[in-house]
Symmetry: none
Subunit: 408 residues, 2 copies
């Protein structure tokens, strides 16, 4: 069994929503990778009683707790006092901490304000955690079942302190057996359809299966225990990925980094030394925007009116056959462009349909390469920004499918 | 005394740090603005017992709790079950919820997977919260001292559900005395420059002043107590905004909605009945993408090579004077376009500079309208995605400044 760990964040600006608590996520990623099981994140504000109650709760519930915030010099920084009161300790002046705080100001040619004296008061019996990145030292203490580490909340200071001092301490204090997380990323298949497709696969009980739908993909996650045999792991991942077919665009956690769809396409285009010209409609610039930094994307255009675009290119629109229209556009684009691929993304549906979240538009993607036309069609509903994002992703995904099929 | 409120987030991906819990911060901002005092944020994972224990704790501790996550169709979505078990309720099939779920799939021409049936099972005695934005209905119930509202964790669905259903219910269930939050949104001026400009203004002690830098703007926030006189408030806001000059593109919290920059530009373009053609370079489609749904954006193009673009348009590039080059491009674009405005966004800097976060590129924005050329120049450093985003925003902002100056 992994030791359990909780994250405690202190800050009025966190619980009032003025800042997003990125520390909790960052710390969790670190400790999960080390082999802890994170059971809770809790954030409280500036009230001393709330902090005391929470620290006491955690001391009987978790094996370890990483705390951030509330170590500053001002009157609303109460975490050292809360820790002392919660566990019946006195606050004691720490000479070494005080020298470090003074030194921080001396090095910056500044005079230490009186209020910083407070930051050298640590709970009696706690261990000081030296902080060379800011004024507040951290400290650690054992209370009940739980080992607590307290750090300042400023993300940069906190990250340095964690990596330099706390992580090594955790490794020596706890017996840790980190698991291995594999993430299979797909596009073009929903969460419940994935579940149905893989339902026949027997997943051993010690492997945790999870799903996550983001705006840009659907992820199937397999968390393996540390001692799971490598080969059995590879076989299971291949079996799951196999059921999802060419909807899979990346697998994270294996030998190389998976990345997002634009990253995968970028790699494939670079390997094949191809270049691309794009026409966007529903995605309205978002496909191009997703490829920022890509040398192979030579030109893109967006035209609100398909008729006007066709007129400029000297072709006719066949409203009953947008696939044929997309092919004609792709052929014309290729004539004037130096790019060897042309990707055209059209859609059927008027402006009202496009804006209405309950109505679907039909997307027609056409890719023209040296070996001819490749096409996909999709129906996409939802708010306009979802339609736009799906249009960009699904057109890029046609390119990805063609390249993976061809190159691999 | 304000009623107390806690935020409960459910999700293994939250406590393992795979995603940052932005829902908690967003919800807190909303409810603080309504007049609640937020006392805790807690996140737990997929373990049923943890969820049950936490719900029971909250039911004796807070007046209200807003819960997100765990309402999906898969086996690790356990929140409805946890709520039922925590408060000794049975799960009951909800016919109306089931019809809504089925309708969601029918509208998208998809067959409802068997697993979605589960999402229609709600704790007996709870009230269903209709969700027209996704498959999972929410629900609410009173337990002990606390009124609980449960919503899906997908941020977009959650936000709609909160604004449409939960916010009105909270307003009628609780006696609230909300303060008034005014947010002044600016572009083109940093946080410390703002602080300096307004340092001479006397802000009364009962008004809370705060700042927040987002990727898309810098916000100056003034939180007034509920009984602060209207006129004094308007005077103070005008004084602060006045110091920030035409960097201010919107003020949220006054009579009408402020919105983001694209929203403001959209309103102004619609009022003036103008249309626009765009050439993007550094923003690479992102300017167009931000204007999704805008009827006035007729066409945009992106060309990786400025030389190639100039060649197609039949003009010469003057590398020593990109402003002049941008003017020549704008003039050519206007000749072939039916749009009455042309906006051209160029930049100086090679591909290496563009990719290097420590090097700056110089952006040249040129707007051509019936009364001639309007130009801005900016230096932008940072990671490539920041450069891209700033390029899109600053070009749009030139259009905004022109329109506000002209129309208002």
């Amino acid at each position: 069994m992994n030791p359990t760990l909780e994250i405690f964040s202190q800050g009025e600006e966190v619980i009032t929503g003025q800042i997003i608590d990125t520390n909790a996520a960052w710390l969790s990623e670190q400790v999960v990778a080390m082999g802890f099981t994170v059971t809770r994140h809790t954030a409280v504000g500036d009230k001393l009683d709330d902090q005391i109650a929470l620290l006491q709760e955690i001391s009987v519930r978790a094996d370890c707790c990483i705390c951030t915030g509330g170590l500053g010099p001002t009157s609303d920084d109460l975490t050292a006092e809360a820790a002392a009161k919660a566990f019946g300790l006195l606050l004691e002046f720490d000479e070494v901490a005080f020298e470090q705080i003074k030194r921080f100001f001396t090095l910056r040619n500044r005079i230490m304000p009186e209020s910083n004296h407070k930051q050298a008061m640590l709970p009696k019996g706690s261990e000081r955690i030296d902080n060379t990145w800011g004024t507040a030292p951290g400290f650690s203490l054992q209370a009940g079942r739980c080992w607590f580490a307290f750090m300042p909340g400023v993300p940069m200071e906190m990250r340095h302190l964690f990596l330099e001092s706390i992580q090594p301490t955790l490794s020596s204090r706890f017996i840790l057996q980190p698991g291995k997380l594999i993430t299979i990323k797909t596009l073009g298949i929903g969460e419940s359809a994935i579940q149905e497709r893989i339902s026949a696969i027997e997943i051993p009980p010690q492997v945790e299966l999870g799903f996550r739908a983001t705006t840009d993909d659907v992820q199937t996650k397999l968390l393996f225990p540390h001692d799971y045999p490598e080969i059995a792991m590879a076989v299971l991942v291949a079996e799951v990925a196999g059921q999802l077919g060419d909807n899979v665009f990346a697998i994270d956690g294996l030998s190389q980094e998976g990345g997002d769809l634009a990253f995968v396409v970028d790699q494939l285009m670079a390997i094949g030394k191809h270049t691309l010209a794009v026409v966007e409609t529903a995605s309205q610039g978002l496909l191009a925007a997703k490829c920022i930094g890509a040398d192979w994307l030579l030109e893109t255009r967006y035209e609100q009116s398909l008729d006007k675009l066709a007129q400029k290119l000297g072709i006719a629109v066949n409203a009953d056959d947008l696939s044929a229209t997309a092919q004609a556009i792709a052929s014309e684009i290729q004539k004037t462009s130096t790019a060897d691929f042309a990707l055209v993304q059209l859609y059927a549906g008027d402006s009202k349909t496009f804006h209405d979240k309950d109505q679907a538009i039909i997307l027609y993607n056409t890719l023209l390469t040296g070996d001819g036309f490749h096409q996909t069609t999709h129906s996409v509903a939802g708010p306009i920004k979802r339609k736009q994002n799906q249009a960009a992703l699904l057109a890029l995904d046609l390119l990805r499918r063609y390249l993976q099929h061809k190159e691999l």
